[in-house]
Symmetry: C2
Subunit: 190 residues, 2 copies
């Protein structure tokens, strides 16, 4: 379908193709068709081929999360607000469960090893940034780490089951449950 109008839209469009078809399933023919580019152009912009395309996509995703979620979690003077913003940003980014997490999908597949460092870094940064915010919001450090792990896990799981059951609302319900758990932990005292 639609050609990518601008060059800067190339990576997001690539991300969408990888999200929908996975790394192995996204053939160069398919990518070219979706981006409106022939192989010549593809290899001009990404001399490293598919591997570089995927690497650039992972890079862009990590940069987006870092700027929009992880940094606020670490630096916002109001950590509770940053936590709530994270949940809202998750709902927006994953299109309320209609979109899949590319990094999570890569983690389950055979490509995991090829991009191990980036995949690991993405989840570790998310977990650590959230734990930091929870601690700053008054939770015990140990409890914060536990809860942060729980939160990232719940979001990933919700993307899996929402996709499996074709039930996008499941994602919203999970975020609500998760929000309640996070709020409870952030209250300075029970």
């Amino acid at each position: 379908m639609g050609a990518a109008a601008s060059r800067d839209d190339l990576v997001p469009a690539l991300a969408e193709v990888f999200r929908e078809h996975g790394f192995e399933g996204a053939s160069l023919a398919l990518i070219g068709a979706r981006l409106g580019l022939g192989k010549g152009s593809l290899y001009h912009h990404f001399p490293g081929g598919k591997e570089e395309m995927a690497a650039r996509v992972l890079e862009a995703i990590e940069a987006w999360f870092e700027a929009e979620m992880f940094r606020p979690l670490r630096e916002d003077p109001d950590p509770a607000r940053a936590v709530r913003a994270m949940l809202a940003a998750s709902d927006a980014y994953f299109r309320s469960g209609r979109r899949v997490c590319l990094v999570g999908a890569f983690a389950l597949g055979a490509v995991r090893d090829r991009f191990a460092r980036r995949i690991d870094a993405y989840f570790a940064a998310w977990r650590d940034a959230l734990a930091d915010a929870l601690t700053r919001a008054g939770a015990e450090p140990a409890a914060s780490r536990d809860l942060a792990e729980d939160a990232v896990t719940a979001i990933q799981g919700a993307l899996v089951t929402a996709s499996a059951l074709q039930d996008p609302e499941l994602f919203g319900r999970t975020l609500r449950r998760l929000g309640a758990r996070l709020e409870a932990a952030m209250k300075p005292a029970a």
Copy 2:
């Protein structure tokens, strides 16, 4: 490596290959090598090709979960015990987070649509059986449904993040947190 000794070991061995490489990544050459069979034998046992292989694998998985987890959840006269047994069975089946859920991996990929009914049925049966057990254990029906959805989601998410972070212990920690939440709900009164 090792050839599958008996014919009955074919499907479990197939499942392992699909788990490790995904549907698209599991080529017939790879499958043949892992099962110690040539294409002739492969197509003799599975005339429908890869599609039938995957279908038989999903069938076998669903049958195992039905017998070992879902039915006990629905029928065990001691539902609380069945819930605890489910957590233990999950830990065993997924090798404490070292193994991935094939159904979940399929759900995230492009193959989802091809096996939509089976994937949907697997997760729906799990959720509904667990909700049934929780209700029988004294929880409110609405809370049971919520908690059951939460549990299946948490387990799937833990498999994603454990694989991503190469941290199998994350799976056990998630099961412990989940167990605590389930136990709390099963107490007849707070």
